[in-house]
């Protein structure tokens, strides 16, 4: 149903070409809008409850900056751009490489988050029910991690079908939308990192 480039037969009716935005583009943009609002609510809760925990452990006692994990996640935004670029130029081999690297970087981020949570729970005895810090920390970081997970699942599906021989370059548009979603997830991490590890500590 591509309305994209219709020109009316009757030149009196249309002065110019009838060009409308692509529906997939509109769809993904507004999906990102609604997801941003959802994340904002958890960020706001985090900010409101800073310093309000009745008991410890407190952020400065137990939080360490997840530098490496953040670098990996944010670099994965870069690798995904390279992957897109390769796909646009039909370089499927390069595309697979950069795409796989993106997935690996994202997976590492998830693993690192899990490791951090393991330490917080078993060594520092901070759980979601311990205090307000625990509640807001696990929910906000967890919400983000769940979105990383969903992103990774879709990224993996793309990689798998490509490896199985599917001509992924025919789905360039949709791959692009997926990469926008991934950029969104990374942008949210910038905000979460700032709020949790910088402001909140």
């Amino acid at each position: 149903m591509a309305h994209g480039h219709l020109v009316a037969e009757n030149p009196l009716v249309m002065e110019r070409e009838w060009k409308l935005p692509d529906r997939g583009t509109v769809g993904i943009i507004f999906l990102i809008v609604t997801e941003s609002v959802l994340f904002s609510m958890f960020v706001i809760a985090y900010l409101i409850y800073i310093g309000k925990s009745l008991v410890g452990p407190y952020p400065k006692d137990v939080l360490e900056l997840p530098i490496l994990a953040s670098i990996c996640l944010l670099s994965s935004s870069g690798t995904i751009v390279f992957a897109e670029h390769a796909l646009k130029h039909n370089q499927i081999g390069k595309f697979k490489l950069w795409w796989a690297l993106t997935i690996l970087l994202g997976a590492y981020f998830l693993w690192a988050t899990g490791a951090e949570w393991h330490k917080l729970i078993y060594e520092d005895h901070l759980t979601i029910s311990t205090n307000l810090f625990g509640t807001t920390f696990y929910s906000l970081v967890g919400l983000h991690a769940s979105h990383v997970t969903v992103g990774l699942v879709f990224l993996s599906i793309v990689l798998i079908v490509t490896l199985m021989g599917f001509p992924i370059q025919t789905q360039l548009r949709r791959v692009l939308f997926l990469s926008w979603y991934w950029h969104f997830v990374d942008a949210v991490w910038v905000i979460v990192f700032t709020v949790v590890y910088i402001i909140g500590r």
């Binding site: 149903m1 309305h3 219709l6 009316a8 037969e9 009757n10 009716v13 249309m14 009838w18 409308l20 935005p21 692509d22 529906r23 997939g24 509109v26 769809g27 507004f30 999906l31 809008v33 609604t34 997801e35 609002v37 959802l38 904002s40 609510m41 958890f42 809760a45 409101i48 409850y49 309000k52 925990s53 009745l54 759980t127 979601i128 029910s129 205090n131 307000l132 625990g134 509640t135 807001t136 696990y138 929910s139």
Partner: protein
């Protein structure tokens, strides 16, 4: 009207070609926006009747002081389920139903932008609703407490925390509504993408029917207002299941935070709910006044203004919570400001009628009643926006009267107008005008009889959500009259049901354009074929059929 060849992708089906099970399958597996739209509306009407029965039982309990029609717990569940159902399982699917049915037809498209997402939206809405109602069966907890939720439709914390709401009733509330909300978001994204990307050639945004504009802004509001509710419900479930402390006041959490999040959703929600009525009125009133909508640019501007200002008024639901005088004043001010674009719409609809040739079809009569009733509702709203007035009347029957005036007197009347107007298009048959008039008058008399007195009960100190009251407080007379009004309303809705059933089976054939209307949906058959338009329309104004019917005086000469 010029058209463009637009080849069909699938062969046309002949009627009568399918067996019963094939037909059933085609309904269940459909991605056709028209079928899904009708399914949304039918589901909403069924929940409307169920929630209406709940209201009837409540009014019977409150008819006399010291009522014992139902036990206190039952009453508390009734008002919770009544409110939750009406907002989430009647109002929201009506938005989705009307939008999904009409938007593609009005913009000259063959379907929505994402037909499968559309189907997903419907079924997940239905799942959420069934999940909520399953609470009657499955809500029992450890000690047998439970059953349907009894925390009020806005489920204030910490009443909903596990300490005070044992069993799983509150979980059914949170999860049922959360799941249903995904459907609303899906529908909203779909409407926005459709509106931006699938308009037929020549239909610039400024030439879009007002109905489509209103649904576009409605979808924007859904996308922005629903996530705060979803977030709050996720937080509540984390509290209840994992011991989180978002609203756990014993461990530093804030009860007021729930209220902020809920009303950041809740206030835009009421605009989300009323917008279909605004949309319908903007289409129906011009046709039955034989004049174009007065002040289209201002109407668009007003809807856009509401779409933004309404995001900043939420704490007028919280005037009694103890906010500072600065906060209270700010929210009082913003709440009054949002009344201005809303009021302007009433003026514009009236001006559309002024100087016209009014035809009092059933649809038009519902619109006219809307104008009076929504005017009253808007004014009581402005009164409540004055915080000191609200300090007396917040959480009283005055507020109950106010919002029923907006929702029944406004929304329900508007929706009925839309149903009488578009039923012929969707079914190919006219509804009976005679039965329609009976429906209208019974509903109008009953509704006013029920809700006008409740203003007075509120002003005499009657709070909300009480399952009974003592005599001698001055409330008896008003409650008695209010309950009597319910029977008229029931009679009205029965007329409507009978009208629909009878007309669907043996109503007068409607033809393509029974009302002599001006927008694109009337240019195709009644009911439209699955593909809507054989040829892609090309438009030059906001009233393409007017241009066609009046070639010597087309709208595009005046643009």
């Amino acid at each position: 009207m010029a058209t463009i060849d637009y080849p069909l992708q699938h062969p046309k089906a002949e009627p009568g070609e399918f067996s019963f099970s094939e037909s059933l399958y085609r309904w269940v597996a459909t991605v056709d926006h028209k079928r899904l739209g009708l399914m949304y509306i039918v589901a909403a009407l069924i929940f409307f009747v169920v929630a209406g029965i709940m209201a009837t039982v409540m009014r019977l309990q409150l008819m006399f002081p010291n009522g014992h029609v139902v036990a206190p717990d039952t009453f508390n569940r009734l008002f919770t389920m009544h409110g939750t159902s009406m907002v989430f399982l009647v109002g929201m699917p009506m938005v989705a139903g009307f939008a999904n049915y009409l938007v593609p037809l009005m913009i000259g498209a063959r379907d929505m932008a994402f037909p499968r997402l559309n189907a997903f939206g419907f079924w997940i809405f239905l799942l959420g609703g069934l999940l909520l109602y399953y609470s009657y069966l499955g809500g029992g907890g450890l000690s047998g407490d439970g059953s349907a939720p009894d925390v009020g439709w806005f489920a204030y914390a910490p009443l909903t925390e596990s300490g005070f709401s044992r069993g799983h009733s509150s979980d059914y509330w949170a999860l049922g509504v959360l799941v249903s909300g995904f459907g609303s978001i899906a529908s909203a994204i779909n409407v926005i993408a459709t509106t931006f990307s699938l308009r037929c050639p020549g239909m610039t945004l400024s030439r879009m029917p007002m109905f489509v504009w209103v649904m576009l802004i409605d979808s924007w509001l859904i996308l922005v207002a629903l996530p705060p509710l979803s977030a709050a419900q996720i937080m509540l479930e984390l509290d209840r299941f994992l011991g989180a402390n978002f609203f756990n006041t014993q461990n530093g959490g804030s009860a007021v935070l729930w209220q902020h999040y809920f009303w950041i959703f809740g206030h835009p929600e009421v605009y989300i709910l009323i917008f279909p009525a605004f949309a319908i009125l903007s289409e129906v009133i011009p046709i039955f006044s034989r004049k174009p909508l007065f002040g289209r640019p201002a109407m668009v501007g007003a809807v856009v203004a509401i779409g933004f200002i309404s995001l900043g008024v939420w704490a007028h639901h919280m005037f009694a919570v103890g906010m500072t005088s600065w906060s209270n004043t700010f929210f009082a001010a913003s709440s009054m400001l949002v009344g201005i674009p809303t009021g302007i719409k009433i003026f514009n609809w009236t001006a559309t009628m002024y100087g016209g040739k009014l035809r009092f079809s059933t649809a038009m009569m519902f619109c006219i009643a809307f104008l009076f009733q929504f005017l009253v509702a808007g004014l009581t709203g402005i009164m409540l926006a004055v915080a000191p007035f609200d300090w007396q009347l917040h959480d009283s029957y005055f507020v109950v009267a106010h919002f029923h005036f907006t929702l029944i007197g406004g929304l329900v009347f508007g929706l009925f107008a839309g149903m009488y107007y578009w039923f012929p298009k969707a079914s190919g048959r006219l509804l009976s005008e005679k039965l329609g008039k009976w429906h209208f008058w019974l509903l109008c008399i009953g509704f006013n009889m029920t809700f006008i007195p409740l203003h007075f009960a509120g002003m005499l100190g009657m709070p909300r959500r009480i399952y009974t009251y003592a005599p001698g407080r001055g409330w008896e007379l008003w409650n008695l009259i209010a309950t009597i009004g319910v029977f008229f309303q029931i009679a009205g809705v029965l007329c409507f049901t009978w009208n629909v059933l009878r007309s669907a089976l043996r109503g007068t054939p409607a033809g393509d354009d029974p009302w002599d209307a001006w927008t694109l949906e009337w240019s195709t058959t009644s009911p439209p074929p699955e593909y809507n338009f054989e040829k892609l329309p090309v438009v030059r104004s906001s009233r393409p059929l007017w241009d066609l019917k009046h070639p010597q005086d087309p709208d595009w000469e005046w643009e």
